[in-house]
């Protein structure tokens, strides 16, 4: 393989996120194997499922659902940045799993939602596209439809008797709609579909993130089933292909070539009028997360490890979320001086503002690919 997209070589290049339909068969296999590995004993956070007050022993894979469910950062200025942080962190786990398996890094590839993804849904890659997802996820214990006397997470995220994040969900389903996402949105749902170009042409961050979240919402429904419910969406591995594409379009908007677009990589300018937004609403259960809000659950609860003595009241902007280990007791990674990369941050942090490198950004514009971040 040595294709060229937008002048960028794809050959054995692990630094960039690629269109999943175009990666080599081997890489796709590695991608799947790395995902599966994240739900094995080798990739499990510390503790035990019966730990109090916060359950431990959660696999790196189930952790993603726990994080998403505990925070639920939607409908607000930080929707894109929070999900970028989630994807970036997950990519590191995925890559380390791949390195362990085949001694190769791997990137978090994406599903270009202009394409019908039906071909991805096979027992050797993403499982079934209608009904129970089946293999490879069933065999890898990503869910367990017959738990008998074993623990499980309920179909509904608010099934309070079955919410332990260490347990497999009782189901993983899809009900993919016919045709492409655009066809589904415009013909079946009769709502506007913003093309990639519509999104990238947005004049400011606010307009762009509204359009992007709108299409993203319908992408969830388009796949349907477990992904269709925002409270359970991260139980389905396909979600990361979807969100990698969301992040790709955000990256494309940021990386447009031209003097007038350079501000989009500047933390203090990229978010425009939304730069100073803070969390809105109750500490529970309704929170809209702002750009100034620390990204949770990674920011943990309580002060960061440095100090708070020089901070004034209200200076810190913490969202009210459920605790998620290891960013709470007993590990407290967010306060561990030996883990500087876990230091609490908000959406202004350069690691959040700077996009990851993608193989190809949508046509119709020129991009500064070289300003993107490699893995």
């Amino acid at each position: 393989l040595n294709r060229f997209f937008g002048g960028i070589s794809l050959s054995e290049d692990f630094d960039r996120r690629k269109n999943i339909t175009l990666v080599s068969k081997n890489e796709r296999v590695n991608f799947r194997r790395a995902l599966v590995a994240l739900n094995t004993a080798d990739f499990r956070f510390g503790g035990d499922r019966n730990d109090k007050p916060f359950a431990g022993g959660v696999s790196y894979w189930f952790k993603q659902d726990e994080i998403h469910q505990a925070t639920h950062v939607h409908r607000g200025p930080a929707f894109l940045t929070w999900h970028r942080e989630l994807c970036n962190r997950f990519e590191r786990y995925l890559s380390s799993a791949s390195e362990k398996l085949v001694d190769k890094k791997i990137s978090l590839h994406y599903w270009d939602w202009n394409e019908d993804p039906s071909n991805l849904f096979t027992p050797k890659f993403m499982g079934n596209l209608s009904g129970e997802a089946g293999d490879p996820w069933l065999g890898a214990s990503f869910y367990n439809p017959y738990p008998k006397n074993q623990y499980y997470r309920g179909i509904h995220a608010f099934d309070s008797d079955h919410i332990n994040p260490a347990d497999p969900p009782i189901s993983l389903t899809r009900y993919k709609k016919d045709g492409t996402l655009e066809e589904y949105m415009t013909k079946e749902e009769r709502v506007p579909f913003y093309t990639d170009q519509d999104i990238i042409r947005s004049e400011n961050f606010s307009q762009m993130r509204l359009k992007l979240e709108h299409v993203h919402n319908y992408a969830h429904n388009y796949i349907g089933g477990t992904i269709g419910d925002p409270h359970t969406a991260f139980r389905d591995p396909f979600i990361f292909l979807l969100h990698s594409n969301v992040d790709r379009l955000f990256a494309a908007w940021q990386l447009r070539k031209g003097k007038e677009f350079e501000y989009r990589l500047d933390p203090n300018k990229v978010y425009g009028s939304e730069k100073d937004t803070v969390a809105k609403g109750s500490t529970s259960p309704f929170v809209i997360v702002g750009i100034q809000t620390l990204l949770s659950p990674w920011c943990g609860t309580g002060y960061p490890y440095d100090t708070t003595k020089n901070r004034e009241a209200g200076e810190r902007e913490e969202p009210g979320v459920n605790d998620v280990r290891p960013w709470t007791y007993p590990e407290n990674w967010h306060r561990d001086p030996a883990r500087p990369h876990e230091r609490p941050k908000n959406s202004l942090d350069p690691s959040v503002v700077t996009p990851r490198l993608y193989d190809k950004l949508p046509e119709g514009f020129e991009y500064n690919y070289h300003l993107a971040r490699r893995i």
Partner: protein, 704 residues
Amino acid sequence: MPILQFSGRFRNYPPVYNNYPWNQEKYFDSKLSPNDVKAKITEGVEPLQYFEFEFSNVHIKKITYDDGTSTSSQKEDPVVGKEIKLKGLLVDTSPHLERGRLFAGEIRIIDFLLARLTIAVQSDLFKSIRNDHDEGAKIYSAEFESAFYDSINLINEFVREENSRFVREVDVHSNNLKIYFNVNLFDFKSLEGEVYGYVGPSIPIEDKHGVRINGRRLLIDPTIAPELKRDFGIKQNQNEDDLEPTDSVLRNDMEGSYEIIKDERLAILRYINFIPFQDTTHKLPDNYIFSVALLQNGREIELSSPIIIDLDKSGISIDGGVCIFHIPEIIGELDKLTLAVNVTKNGGQQYRFLKEPIFDLILENNQRFLMLYSGKKEELRVRVFKNNKLYGNRITIILRSESHAYSPYVAWWTSPNIVSENGTAICYAEARDLENSAEVEDPILPKLSENEKPHMISGDLPWDRYYGNYLSLKIEYNEKPTIKLNIPVRVLHSVRSSDIENIDTLNKEEIQDIITKILSYYARYYPWLHVEYRYVKDKKGNPKLVYLQFLKIKEYLDFISRDDVHDWHSCHESIEKINHFLERLDKDDNDWKKMPRSRDFPYNGIEFLKAWKSSIVNKVIKDINESKSKTIKDNTDIMADNLDVNNWAEVEALVDGLDNLIKLSPSLSTEHKKILLRNKIAIYQFMLEKLNDAKFQTRHLHEH
């Protein structure tokens, strides 16, 4: 157990506008921006956070160890500086922001523990800023106390026995902890104030020898020097006597209290409510020093070093608004110990400022409020102490019922006085029958002139209001200070039990009338309570933040009649709406998701909603049974054998029958075919549920 002293700020979001009955109802309007809502409707309060209370930047400033020594240095003990996070819902008992109760409280002390809090009831409010120019909430202070439960130890590698004396001394498995905090300087603009307090062992009212060791009060010495009265802003005039308790929870006199940790012989004096601060920076009267005097059998003990209360701003902050000191061994029996607070000015003459009263009274369990159901009577037990022990002789307690400016007179004592015996007296409070009231003056309806006669109301009093007034208890004793308790009483409307029992006989109008009544104060006062944020696009495509009402009470009140339940979908919709409400009403009082004002929902209100729901369901069941019987009856010739739904073979045959029907009827329209197919799918779905149940079922079933 070492004591953790803390200070910082708190935030509270009271429903300011909505709490006053003469304010006009302001309907929900999704077109208003959040800023407009705050500016025009809620008086600056974020409606999404109505009733929320939370600590903000509260940190442990000092640790007092078991031997009475202390540290405020993080280097000496890393627990110093740890943040305390606390949140809960502060709902007032009585209307108009009186006697708050903190529900669903949760506390986290970083690197120490996580716990839930029992309901904390607000004390009286004391005028702790005493000058002639400051006014409003910021001049008052009040205190809360709450025990911990469901405590979970969070001690970890950041604090260890090796580096923390606190960890070495604390019993992490103790279930006997509490928090005390004093809130003051609350500002209705910023919705913030200051908080001081401590976390320590939970102390009972009395020790095992019957000596009071918690809540001992200190009141202004009636012989206070005129110079102190002048300098401390203690006034005495025609309308106001700052040496006497008022007739409400807003107190103009001053009061301190202390408790004793017996095993460690430590006393904790809570002083914020009695220091006469001169302004909102907590400036003290010039050149005054406040100290604690210890008395044994009424005689002051000479101490090796004076107990000075450190009252500069940083001193209050570090001490958490309390003064902790060791009780010297010279004091043998704790019932012989009393405290006083002395002051000196310019190092000159010492004056007695506060002293312990000889008598005191409390309601059993230290109850500070009363909720009465319409027309009901409740027994209250009063405990009388003399010199911190239950008073064995007889003494009269004068009972008075006070009127209230915000409510008709609705609660009263059944007798004008009672006499205590062996330290206890029993009295009865009675509530007006709000649904069938005799004529009573209504202070809420506006009078056009002073000369106009008061408005009178009677019969079924309006349900969209709060009703309550004070009941007071005073010890009949000539010596000052006067010992008096003011109990805010809330009276709640009641749904008649007969309406629940006879729900099936009520018609649509009658049910709608009752539902409208029981939800009317929600609809009237809190149209903005059940909202969440949504971003919508403005005309330019930019995001615009708006409120979305997720619990639409007004809409809910437009419900269907039982007579319409043939229409299954509207029945289903109606049941869903009732469930939506019940889910939020029926939760435990300490559940964050319970509707805040559900703690004072009309009596029998929830039961009525449940009864109404079952009557709708029963009607549907009846209709289905009738339809089923009729179908069988009308087709007896071809329905000789009824279907046994537990006989899987019969159900399978039914599906085969449907298949045959579809196959053998090529002329079936698509629509008819669709109906048959849907039936088939419904049977499949039914069987799937049956089969799943069968996995766990052991009993034999045979149903038709």
